[in-house]
Symmetry: C2
Subunit: 208 residues, 2 copies
């Protein structure tokens, strides 16, 4: 254990997260990772077999964490709308809290050696399957509109993931405000067209 309470193993991984996110896996030298962790490059090999192992551990750890959190939500809640709300909040919170880790997962899939890619991809597939289960269940129970489950899940994941690229904790909006906006985009529509009041029968105008 080191002065800051982290093991050297953890310090090395934290440094790798920082540099993989900043420069990309291939552009991040092991020597720089070692320098940030406070040791020599050669000493990394006492804790990890090679550079690739750092990437795999980052991806595996945080994909597992993401899946576990969504599984927990599905077990905890039954109402489709509440499940959706929790899933959106969870996705955005995870991706903004572990911004660098998920950025690496999203951009460095190519850097995975053939040997490790299937495992990480299966974790990503698992997450998509859980989300699609949520959506399908909500549609079958008549809570959500019938639509293409796969495409809806892709669109939802894409827009919620991207939040992490622009969100700033000290910015105009809090995470909770952003979550509220995205819940509305997803549940009620991003740009719901204003109903054309002039063409509406009088008796329904009060719905606006």
């Amino acid at each position: 254990m080191r002065p800051d309470g982290r093991s050297m193993r953890e310090s090395i991984l934290a440094a790798a997260v920082q540099l993989f996110a900043q420069y990309g896996y291939h552009a991040a030298p092991l020597r720089d990772i070692a320098r940030i962790a406070g040791i020599q490059a050669a000493s990394i090999y006492h804790h990890y077999p090679n550079k690739q192992a750092l990437l795999v551990e980052i991806m595996e750890t945080y994909m597992l964490r993401l899946n576990t959190s969504l599984e927990h939500i599905l077990k905890e809640y039954d109402d489709p709308l509440q499940r959706l709300h929790e899933a959106i909040a969870n996705h955005i919170r995870m991706h903004t809290t572990y911004k660098e880790e998920f950025f690496i997962i999203d951009t460095e899939m190519r850097a995975l050696e053939e040997e490790h890619r299937p495992h990480i991809l299966s974790l990503r597939d698992k997450y998509e399957a859980l989300l699609q289960e949520l959506l399908r269940d909500g549609m079958e129970r008549g809570i959500f509109r019938q639509s293409d489950v796969k495409i809806a899940s892709y669109a939802m994941i894409a827009m919620c993931t991207e939040v992490a690229t622009w969100f700033r904790p000290d910015g105009r909006l809090s995470v909770q405000q952003v979550i509220t906006i995205y819940r509305q985009f997803i549940a009620e529509g991003l740009l719901v067209l204003m109903p054309d009041v002039s063409r509406m029968p009088d008796e329904s105008a009060h719905l606006l």
Copy 2:
């Protein structure tokens, strides 16, 4: 000019697009780019000053093309809903047609040297500004619901861009079908909640 009608300069760039997209900028060796283009690595330097110039030219060319197409739509159409429909179709078509080029733009920003980044970022900002102008105008004219223009534009760009990662021309859906689905997601809502008929006054039930 070469047998296939492309200049060597174009062949080199095409090879760079292929390998930058497949392996990433830093992991794509100039020797391999040269091999695919059918020359020796050293000969690339007759056409481009260095590797970075290949990346800059790819990014600049296709961001300009994207901006020009959206500017054309804004000039051609006035109706906010039609503008939105055309913008969505254009974004999805561009990103699926030039899948590799836009994938590079989206994932290799980090690989741009400091010197070139502001220029490329300004082109990306320009696109966002054009789209935000479209949305703001539609809200001001009462066609779209009032919502956060910036966030709406980010969400829209993110979900439409991501189509390129899973779309297959020989897949279950045609581009046109995908465009139709995304238009509905964006204009009418991704998961519009089924209105709860039981709690609605009788006289408005006919709206469903």
